[in-house]
Amino acid sequence: MMNQPSPRKFWRWFDPRYRQIGTWAFILNRITAIGLTVYLVLHLYMLSKLVQGPEAYDAFIALAKTPVILFGELLVIAAGLIHGLNGIRVGFNSFGFGLQRQRETFIVLMIIALAGTVYFAVHMFGWA
């Protein structure tokens, strides 16, 4: 018999077709959660360069200033804003607060996340 739940159907978490805004929030939260966790591991690895002395760390800092890495860091900031702001929404909703307005809250929070990301982009890339 097909069609029953299975862990192999995890791709359905990420399928927004025919779904509502709540699914978009869930998908973004999951993807950004994975992104932030991967970043945390990378971040700790990079910091471990400190124990290899100033040369290794300076070489890493030079790399971190390249546009590709800066763009990656901007994604981390965007992910942090999306996940953190939506996480606050989910936290409140989880105990019944603001649930009837969850759609509107999500839209407002994502506008704030976008504005925050643009603000950081302007400063990081020296456009200001």
């Binding site: 029953q4 739940p5 862990p7 978490w13 989880s94 105990f95 019944g96 649930l99 969850q102």
Partner: protein, 248 residues
């Protein structure tokens, strides 16, 4: 006035005996104000008597005719064709997701019904406990408690649409959790909180809120799950300080 006639194609998921599923197409003339279930019945009556599907009351009380129509969970007896397609359009009809398919559009809902039973949801409840958008009517004979059927018709649409239910067959699902909430509201029975308070219960929900979006009966399972979480947490905190009963 002559009734409008639309020509539509039903693309119906067919599957039996463990064979892989395929879609079979039937082109029909319909009145767009008929319901999707009427079109499915016509396929069975005039095109293919081997088509399996569930239906009973045709007025959204029995919860038997839930299907996935063009990607969205619908109670087909109350879904007008006009709402889900257009003239010369297609209706892609699939069985509910997250339930084993028995044949064509029929799914095995036994585990679902067991969860509903475990939630202890009574099928009738006092009128004064109902969330009605009207003033509660005064019973004609006040000595008799007026009762009504609870809103949940056990159609399973909420389980079919839930992303958490897609990957976990041990998750009790939105309908049963909403049932436990409703029963808890009516009785204050603490064992219902214990039943719901575990990883395959209340805490498996990840707030996509799709259950409430597809519910054809205004149960609002998402709100009920969240509200039950609040009761569970408040009960746990109170029991730390020695309280045994929930707050009235």
């Amino acid at each position: 006035m002559k009734p409008t006639t639309w020509t539509i194609t039903l693309s119906i998921s067919r599957q039996s005996g463990g064979a892989p599923r395929h879609f079979q197409e039937f082109t029909l003339e319909v009145n767009p104000d008929e319901y999707v279930l009427d079109a499915v019945e016509r396929v069975w009556a005039f095109h293919d008597r081997s088509l399996n599907y569930r239906h009973a009351c045709h007025h959204s009380t029995c919860g038997a005719c839930g299907m996935v129509v063009n990607g969205v969970e619908k109670l087909t007896c109350i879904t007008p064709i006009r709402e889900v397609t257009r003239d010369r359009g297609t209706l892609r009809i699939e069985p509910l997701r997250n339930f084993p398919v028995q044949s064509d559009l029929v799914v095995d809902m036994s585990a679902f019904y067991q969860n509903m039973e475990a939630s202890k949801l009574n099928s009738v409840s006092p009128v004064e406990k109902a969330d009605l958008p009207i003033d509660h009517p005064t019973p004609a004979a006040p000595a008799v408690d007026a009762e009504r059927l609870v809103d949940c018709i056990e159609c399973g649409l909420c389980v079919s649409v839930c992303p958490a239910a897609a990957t976990s067959d041990s998750y009790v699902g939105p309908a049963a959790l909403a049932g436990a909430h409703q029963q808890f509201q009516a009785t204050g029975e603490i064992s219902l909180l214990d039943w719901a308070d575990h990883q395959d219960g209340l805490w498996r929900c990840h707030s996509a809120y799709e259950c409430t979006a597809v519910c054809p009966s205004n149960v609002n399972p998402a709100w009920r799950i969240m509200n039950l979480r609040r009761h569970v947490v408040s009960q746990r905190i109170r029991s730390l300080f020695g309280a045994k009963e929930p707050r009235p």
